[in-house]
């Protein structure tokens, strides 16, 4: 049911020319995705999807639309090659899922490596009952430090882009006025 709705929204996004409608549809997509993740018992990820996908990125997209034109341009030539590449990539990905173990199998390879140790020892070693938190911030602390650095870098980069352009524009305006 949820996946059907996701597919419907995706088709609507692809067919839509007004970028404002696309942004609204992506909000619906994000909330559907969050519901899917809740069904899959991934509450932490669902919360992130709802807050970032439906919240912050919508605001950022709308702010971007405020800066640019809000209607998608007609393509200048037919896009058969991109369509071909997309279909082939999708087919390869679907083909790859065929050899995965069935969903939810406890003895899948990924559940036999370090996962049992994390689940068994997290209370004794870290006093933190939520295994997601203890894996994120403790067992995998280096990765999370990397993520924080990525957010830091991305934020600084976007701010430099937006600010830097404006400063150059101001200088040009001053040059033309004098």
């Amino acid at each position: 049911m949820l996946l059907t709705l996701l597919a419907v929204v995706t088709v609507a996004i692809v067919r839509q020319r007004s970028l404002f409608s696309v942004v609204v549809l992506t909000v619906i997509y994000s909330f559907l995705m969050a519901s899917v993740l809740i069904v899959l018992d991934a509450v932490d990820v669902a919360m992130t999807e709802a807050a970032v996908g439906a919240g912050i990125s919508t605001v950022i997209l709308l702010a971007t639309l405020h800066l640019i034109r809000t209607t998608e341009m007609r393509p200048v030539r037919r896009h058969l090659l991109p369509l071909f590449v997309a279909i082939v990539t999708g087919a390869i990905l679907v083909w790859g899922t065929l050899v995965l173990p069935p969903f939810g199998t406890a003895d899948a390879v990924i559940h036999r490596h370090v996962v049992p140790r994390y689940i068994a020892d997290t209370i004794r070693e870290t006093n933190v009952p939520n295994v997601v938190t203890s894996v994120l911030a403790d067992y995998r602390g280096y990765d999370t430090l990397g993520e924080a650095t990525v957010i830091f870098t991305a934020g600084i980069g976007v701010m430099l882009l937006l600010r830097g352009g404006r400063r150059r524009g101001d200088a040009e305006r001053e040059n033309t006025s004098t």
Binding site: V43, I56, V59, T64, E125, N130, A148, F152, G155, L162
Partner: protein, 138 residues
Amino acid sequence: MSLDLILRVGTKLILPFILLFALYVQFHGDFGPGGGFQAGVITAGMVILLAITFGLEAAQRIAPQALVERMIPLGVLIYAGTGVAGLIMGKNYLDYSVFSHDPAHGHELGIFLVEVGVLITVAGTMTALFYAFVERGR
């Protein structure tokens, strides 16, 4: 102008609860879903809601641009500093067991510090991005 009265009053009512929920997500992340990243995004969402309803100036009164921009590196520094503290106290980088006599308590404290760092960086980055876009659009 009077049409957005409900919006303004509703926003005023809901703002403290958004912040409270963000803090709940932050400090309850050890026991339930959530953590620094989610709490940071919710905090930034509160500032953005304030800016959308009451204007950028109102938002920058409670979250000044200079503060928000300093929060971005500060959070990463708290995270990395937690690791360096482990180094100084004679263990590996990001080994939290040094922070307390009981290693488990040390880990709990370390996770707490690291999550605070993530919260500060994420909230700062998201708010600063929003400010940058809004100022660019003027």
